[in-house]
């Protein structure tokens, strides 16, 4: 693979996607320290929000230690070069949240819908453009739409004003050829000025490989997280990707060793549990399940004495999409009831 001379923007998600494994409890000081470290390492874009985006604070997804506004106002003034983005999922976050984020100094908004539901983002995309924000969109759970379907959804987002559209592998299910097919068709379909991005999860350990495939097929913005801090088995480990890209002659503007230090010295000590490919997170990637279901399935598994693997596989069978955390407990209870019946018969 020859990527020499290409330029990509690496976007850190450890302070947003990383909120999932931290149950949205990252302290303000940790946020400031990590963001300053990323800034000093030359990471151009840093996402800061509740793991489920603006307005994600809820019983359903978890209440964060601080509000989005507190985090954004607390961190942004400390940054010298890096810009800050915020995630927004229509149906949860609203245009009011968008305005709030912009007032806090957020320059890039990332508006995310399920890979078949682009049209619910129209009002948010148009408003973000009107506000002059760098307007990026996500087509989440991209494995649940075929390349042609994904490209046509991307085209819709472009028509509303999206400037960069992501193929978002929320379940960490895609393999490199799947990424190539999707990104390539998006590239062929969209206007040449519209950028393409890729957001990976490392559930099948494909984060780096998939990111390379995406770059080769035309993606110019790639998400990752320092030390991989993100939902499921984490995001593409950003320091690893930066190192690989440097060896391949791709320009990222990042100081690899400074980024490695952020991962090792700041992120790793913050972890409550290892964020890695293990039985449960591997199941997410294998079964095509939304990565942030992981901790919910583990908690429900414990409560109802069933295996999180079984819960996640059932969530995949039910074709649950991002945000359906409320279904997990019911699935766990149903499995527990079925198990009890089975053992009663036996």
């Amino acid at each position: 693979m020859d990527l020499r001379g290409k330029k990509v923007i690496l976007h850190d998600n450890s302070l947003r996607d990383g909120m999932h494994p931290k149950r949205h409890q990252i302290t303000l000081q940790q946020m400031i320290d990590v963001a300053k470290g990323l800034d000093a390492a030359g990471v151009p874009l840093i996402e800061i929000t509740h793991g489920d985006g603006l307005g994600g604070a809820s019983v359903n997804y978890g209440f964060p230690l601080h509000s989005d506004e507190e985090y954004l106002r607390g961190v942004i003034p400390h940054l010298k070069k890096a810009k800050v983005s915020a995630l927004l999922l229509p149906g949860m976050g609203t245009v009011e949240h968008l305005h709030m984020a912009r007032d806090c100094g957020v320059s890039t908004i990332r508006i995310a819908t399920h890979c078949t539901e682009a049209d619910v983002a129209e009002q948010h995309i148009r408003e973000a453009r009107k506000l002059g924000m760098d307007t990026v969109t996500f087509l989440m759970m991209a494995h649940m739409n075929d390349p042609a379907g994904l490209a046509s959804q991307a085209k819709l987002m472009e028509s509303y004003g999206a400037q960069c559209i992501y193929c978002t592998d929320s379940a960490g299910y895609l393999l490199p050829d799947d990424v190539t097919a999707r990104v390539r068709l998006m590239r062929e379909t969209l206007h040449p000025d519209t950028q393409i991005g890729f957001h990976g999860h490392h559930n099948l350990a494909m984060g780096v490989a998939n990111s390379l495939a995406a770059i080769e097929a035309g993606a110019v913005r790639i998400d990752g997280s320092a030390a991989g801090l993100g939902a499921g088995a984490g995001n593409t480990p950003l320091e690893v990707l930066a190192a690989v890209l440097e060896r391949m002659g791709v320009h990222t503007g990042i100081d690899v060793f400074k980024l490695i230090d952020v991962a090792e010295d700041l992120i790793v000590p913050m972890l409550d549990q290892q964020v890695r490919v293990d039985r449960d997170s591997l199941t997410l990637g294998y079964a095509g399940v939304y990565s942030s279901f992981l901790l919910f399935a583990q908690r429900a598994g414990k409560k109802y004495q069933v295996s999180p693997v079984d819960i996640l596989i059932e969530m995949g069978r039910l074709k649950a999409v991002g945000g359906q955390e409320d279904l997990i407990e019911e699935v766990a209870q149903t499995l527990a009831t079925a198990k009890a019946k089975k053992s009663a018969v036996a």
């Binding site: 809820s58 019983v59 359903n60 149906g91 049209d119 359906q324």
Partner: protein, 302 residues
């Protein structure tokens, strides 16, 4: 049998489902269906069912209001369009049952507060949202037992059941539902989340209600209250079923329902249509009864 003539404005999913239900009513009679797209399935169906139709929007209906004795209009367009319609209907002495999230008139969630609307002579009543109709009764069932500091609802609906109006203005759904949770449900603070799921075959509407009570929840009383409320809703939406819970955890009360529709227009998975249209119809029938018994005589000012 004496009846009140009504018009349906909006020929999308909600308007068409409502039409089919309204045809079964004994006290209201659907006479006009108003759309903007002559090719819409809703208008064609209305025509085949013997209604007068226009594809010229509300403008197309206005000349016929008096001659056809239209006294109630259901508006199932969109929040923005209804904001334009509301003053026009009012000036013509037509009572508006608003099925958009415009929330111009007071909220009506029949099993909770229909009785409060009796005798008020309101010219505009708002039906909150489908998610609101499916969840606010349960929030009210908890808050009538003990104070609720916070209530949050998650409505998951099949992609196919969410029409373009809902999609274009999804913020209005979350905003209006949250307000309804507070004003009608009785929670101090409300939050609403909507999720669209494109799975095939389409999934049945599913609603989760989380309440945080001010003090430790009285489990027995809350459970009984929720079950009693479910029966009230089942009177007009038979497919409203408890799926999970109530689960109690500290001050949290969580419960999930499934809403299966009657399949009048879209198939049974689209319970989100039924719960909205059945509630609107119930509200219209209450108003029609008041008109028929001479207790409510709206006056034309235009």
């Amino acid at each position: 049998m004496p009846h009140i003539n009504v018009a349906l404005i909006g020929s999308g999913n909600i308007g068409t489902d409502l039409l089919i239900k309204a045809l079964r009513s004994t006290c209201i009679k659907p006479v006009w269906m108003v759309g903007v797209d002559p090719e819409s399935d809703g208008l064609k169906r209305a025509q085949s069912l013997g209604l007068k139709t226009t594809a010229a929007g509300l403008e197309g209906l206005l000349p016929h209001l008096v001659t056809d004795h239209i006294q109630i209009a259901f508006d199932a367009t969109s929040a923005y369009v209804h904001a334009e319609h509301a003053p026009i209907l009012r000036a013509h002495g037509v009572v508006a049952i608003d099925l958009t999230p415009a929330a111009i008139g007071p909220f009506c969630v029949p099993p909770v507060n229909l009785a409060e609307h009796v005798g008020k002579g309101e010219m505009n009543v708002n039906m909150v949202t489908c998610g609101g109709q499916a969840t606010i009764p349960i929030v009210a069932a908890v808050s009538r037992v003990q104070p609720v500091d916070y209530a949050e609802i998650v409505a998951t609906v099949a992609s196919r059941s969410a029409g373009p109006g809902t999609r274009k203005n999804i913020d209005e759904f979350t905003r209006t539902t949250a307000h309804g949770i507070e004003r009608v449900g009785g929670a101090k603070k409300g939050k609403a989340i909507i999720i669209l799921n494109p799975a095939e075959p389409p999934l049945i509407m599913r609603d989760t209600i989380h309440c945080l009570t001010e003090t430790t929840p009285d489990q027995a009383k809350i459970t009984a209250s929720i079950l009693a409320m479910m029966k009230e809703v089942q009177k007009y939406v038979p497919g409203y079923r408890l799926k999970h819970g109530p689960v109690f955890d500290g001050n949290r009360v969580s419960v999930s329902f499934e809403v299966e529709g009657l399949g009048d227009y879209l198939p049974v998975y689209a319970g989100n249509l039924d719960i909205m249209t059945a509630a609107a119809l119930r509200t219209a029938e209450m108003i029609a009864q008041e008109m028929l018994t001479g207790k409510f005589n709206p006056i034309r000012s235009a």
